[in-house]
């Protein structure tokens, strides 16, 4: 199998290209994804290759993009809609929560809704409060949705392929902060990374970092720079989360720090924390700490104050290591 260095945008593009070429039922739709190749270029070149019937430039209507994709999925296609920025997904939330997530359940399993809703999320591009949000908790709270977020090019492609070949709707959150920051060797052909499986990025004995998506490199850089003897778990899938990977590490280290970019209150870290205490409080040597974005909208000029950074992560490390 041939491969080449790709950034996350190129890896996603390669995944979509493979999916379109291997399955006629795959259709892409979204705003500016065709002739423009997507505002982040994820769909670059695909219109020319697969034509306007399969790579659809839609009118500017998020609920319509999502609603149409649901109807296509019900009639047997495998649509992959794109929402240009996660911040604009909210007018489609009724379609996502009340249609997409409930098609199988409400029809007694007669109808299915296999689709992947891709959308870039999080900060890192100086987009201010309407081009930087991290809304994963909204989706994680809805039964019927699978929620996936990759942190590197290799995973991005493998997870997108798995999502697109599954039988249930997937919310695929792409950390735009990482779109072009790193390159990895990525195979040109189709391959899959299983949904529901975390990746242990490094192993250690003192403490465990649980993180995902946009914050993975921040955590890894901090761990390396400070020579921390830590497990680092990249969840990759939030729903269904990899309970076993988490609990194995909890048993080993007993000191847990959860890092995410989304605001703290009601954030996905709260769910992980509750899950750990429910089934492993006896293993803990210290309170579980969260290092997250604040409970405020993400600002434009002062964006660097928003997402977790090395200093805040190291403060948390001190606290968990000082606990008896």
């Amino acid at each position: 199998m041939t491969s080449k260095p790709m950034n996350m945008v190129q890896a996603l593009n390669s995944a979509l290209d493979n999916l379109l070429s291997s399955d006629d039922r795959v259709i892409l739709l979204g705003e500016d994804i065709g002739i423009d190749g997507g505002v982040f270029r994820v769909t670059d070149g695909l219109l020319a290759k697969y034509g306007a019937e399969r790579v659809i430039d839609t009118p500017l209507v998020e609920l319509g993009i999502v609603g149409m994709a649901i109807g296509m999925a019900i009639q047997g296609l495998r649509p992959i809609p794109e929402i240009q920025f996660q911040d604009f997904i909210y007018t489609a939330m009724d379609q996502i929560i009340n249609q997409m997530a409930k098609i199988r359940f409400r029809s007694g399993g007669e109808y299915e809704c296999p689709l992947v809703l891709r959308t870039p999320y999080g900060g890192g591009v100086k987009g201010g409060l309407y081009h930087s949000q991290s809304g994963e908790s909204y989706f994680a709270h809805t039964a019927g949705l699978t929620v996936v977020t990759p942190s590197n090019p290799y995973d991005a492609k493998g997870l997108l392929v798995s999502a697109a070949q599954g039988d249930d709707p997937v919310i695929f959150l792409e950390p735009k902060r990482l779109y072009r920051t790193a390159k990895q060797e990525v195979p040109d052909d189709l391959y899959k990374i299983p949904i529901g499986k975390a990746q242990v990025l490094q192993t250690g004995n003192d403490l465990t970092f649980i993180t995902y998506g946009s914050m993975v490199p921040t955590v890894m850089d901090t761990v390396k720079k400070n020579n921390l003897d830590a497990d680092v778990l990249d969840l990759r899938t939030l729903v269904p989360v990899d309970k076993n990977a988490i609990m194995q590490s909890v048993q080993k280290t007993g000191r847990i720090i959860i890092v995410h970019e989304a605001p703290r209150t009601g954030g996905f870290g709260a769910e992980i924390s509750a899950m750990i205490t429910e089934r492993g409080i006896d293993f803990l040597y210290a309170p579980i700490l969260r290092v997250t974005g604040p409970d405020s909208p993400i600002p434009y000029r002062m964006e660097e104050y928003y997402a977790p950074n090395e200093r805040r992560i190291m403060n948390a490390v001190k606290k968990v290591m000082e606990s008896a």
């Binding site: 007694g108 019927g144 249930d168 269904p240």
Partner: protein
Amino acid sequence: MEQQKKEKTESEKPRYIRAYAAMVLSRTLDKKIVSAQRQGRVGFYTPTMGQEALQVGISMALEKEDYVYGYYRDVPMMLHRGVPIETIINQIMGNSADTAKGRQMPSHYTSKAMHFMSVQSPVASNLPLAAGAAYALRYLKKKSVVVTTFGDGATSTPDFHAGMNLAAVFKLPLVFVCENNGYAISLPVERQTPVEISLKAVAYGMPGVKADGMNFVEMYNAAKKAIHDARSGNGPTLIDALSYRMGPHSTSDDPSKYRTDEVKEGSDRDPLVIGEKLLISMEFADDKLLEKIRNEAIKTVDEKFDACEKIPPPDPMTAFQDVYKNMTWMLEEEVKDIL
């Protein structure tokens, strides 16, 4: 010539009789469910009375390969399309024979076999799905048309706008049928929108037609043209099917609080009375035949209703299945705690 015309009309006769029979069956079932609800045998229901002709007219113009993305008042259409009456009663009961395993409140039907998409509650959110379905069917080289139905209240929603615009932009094989029954619960259509609903089509560059939804033959003709256009690649049409909600919004509603302009059952505006007059004037039926159809409907409804009522409730486990294709570990854990 005359002879040919007569023969053609004769051959149409069973079609018209079947249409009338579906209207009668629906009306009979409607009344049965409403009275059963009063006796505490049914939880809730949204009656269809008044909208029989418009729905059956649409259904007459549909082919087997066509699809309906409908809403909670589409019982007459379902019955006419051939959905077994048991499917409807079992859904109302939420029993173990219900397609959706008792998960949805009454009036939220599903019948994949008869190409009827499962009904959701949020008003009009089926319209963008219908656009996607029409796109998919055309892409798959099927000759199918999609019909989507919704109320007059639905025309104020963003989903209506989205669905209409998308269908027009992509010139989809899709027909929009507004079952304009004059009210959205308590709000009269004049307060819903200041323009006639058919005019809304102009903004999307598609034909908008008004049809007398109380007259099944007129409705059939309007639908035939719209469906033919959709099937021939000429794009979508909006049909404003003027009718009247003869019953309350639902069994929980008291219309006397907000309206007095009722259309009474058996009056000249009742779509069944209009249908009977049409059949008699076409010489397709006489009073005796109509009487027979009515009596058969009562017998069928009573028998089927009683039989369905005896079906036990679903297995509790089914309340937690079909969330995903395979149950998640979280739900497995939760279910263990519940059951």
